[in-house]
């Protein structure tokens, strides 16, 4: 059985944030929250790296382990999803997640924050596939349509990979063995020299 995974080739990410925008647009994500973010380290210095981050759909998900209402479940594709009908917006999953994936749509009185929202690997939620009610709660269900997450599909530098973990790992391995050090892009050594310390 295929296990769905994201893999970001940090050498190729140019921090264009198109994955973030595409995700927000595809799923009609509410104002103030992003299901995906681009994190940059060493910004403006030699060896700068950007990585596109979202829910990594952990095998033994810490969010599911701490949820007091057990609203998380893992599909046969190894995608971690949750039920917004059960979620009480307590925020435990946010503190448990090492990637900061769970987001909350509002800040209200007495610490209320609304139902948790996170990346669904474009597989939506427990409602019937590709229905209006499913879209309103979780966004588009591209996996059911035979497609992959839009963030990865429209990545202009082919940095963000998504899909069967074994296949995308093989693609990344092939890239690394072919290009060696650096991104393999033209002008890399002119920009960063060979001696750059990352």
């Amino acid at each position: 059985m295929a296990r769905m995974k994201f893999l970001c080739d940090a050498d190729r990410c140019i921090e264009c944030n198109a994955c973030v925008t595409a995700c927000k647009n595809e799923h009609d994500v509410p104002w103030g929250i992003n299901r995906r973010r681009v994190v940059t380290i060493n910004d403006g210095k030699p060896g700068e790296r950007s990585v596109s981050m979202a829910c990594m759909h952990c095998t033994d998900a810490p969010c599911a382990a701490v949820c007091p209402v057990d609203c998380f479940y893992t599909t046969a594709d190894a995608v971690v999803l949750h039920s917004k009908d059960l979620c009480i917006g307590c925020g435990y999953c946010f503190y448990a997640c090492p990637f900061g994936a769970p987001q909350y749509p509002r800040v209200g009185n007495f610490g209320t924050r609304g139902k948790m929202d996170k990346c669904t690997f474009c597989a939506a939620g427990p409602e019937e596939d590709s229905t209006e009610i499913e879209y309103a709660k979780y966004g588009a269900n591209r996996l059911a349509e035979g497609k992959l997450p839009l963030c990865a599909e429209m990545c202009s530098t082919k940095s963000l990979l998504a899909g069967d973990g074994e296949i995308i790992a093989a693609i990344y391995k092939e890239r690394v063995t072919q290009r060696g050090y650096g991104s393999g892009a033209w002008g890399w050594q002119t920009a960063y020299r060979e001696t750059v310390e990352v």
């Binding site: 479940y73 035979g146 082919k158 693609i171």
Partner: protein, 69 residues
């Protein structure tokens, strides 16, 4: 005046008596041990959606290096 006071007193006694009984009943019902149910979305919701369509095969192809001829 005396009548009014005794009437108030009796009303309060009434509420105390019945309030205490109802509170105990609610607490007993709430604290009674029940079976915990974890969320079980069912087989239909968790079945595999992923399949290698032509669309997905094209994604894998364009993300790999072109095959050497």
């Amino acid at each position: 005046m005396q009548d009014k006071r005794s009437r108030e007193l009796s009303r309060r006694n009434f509420l105390r008596a019945f309030g205490g009984v109802s509170t105990t009943a609610v607490a007993a019902a709430t604290l009674a041990p029940g079976e915990a149910h974890a969320y079980d979305p069912g087989e239909e919701e968790t079945r595999a959606r992923y399949r290698e369509t032509d669309h997905i095969k094209a994604f894998y192809r364009v993300n790999s290096y072109p095959e050497k001829k």
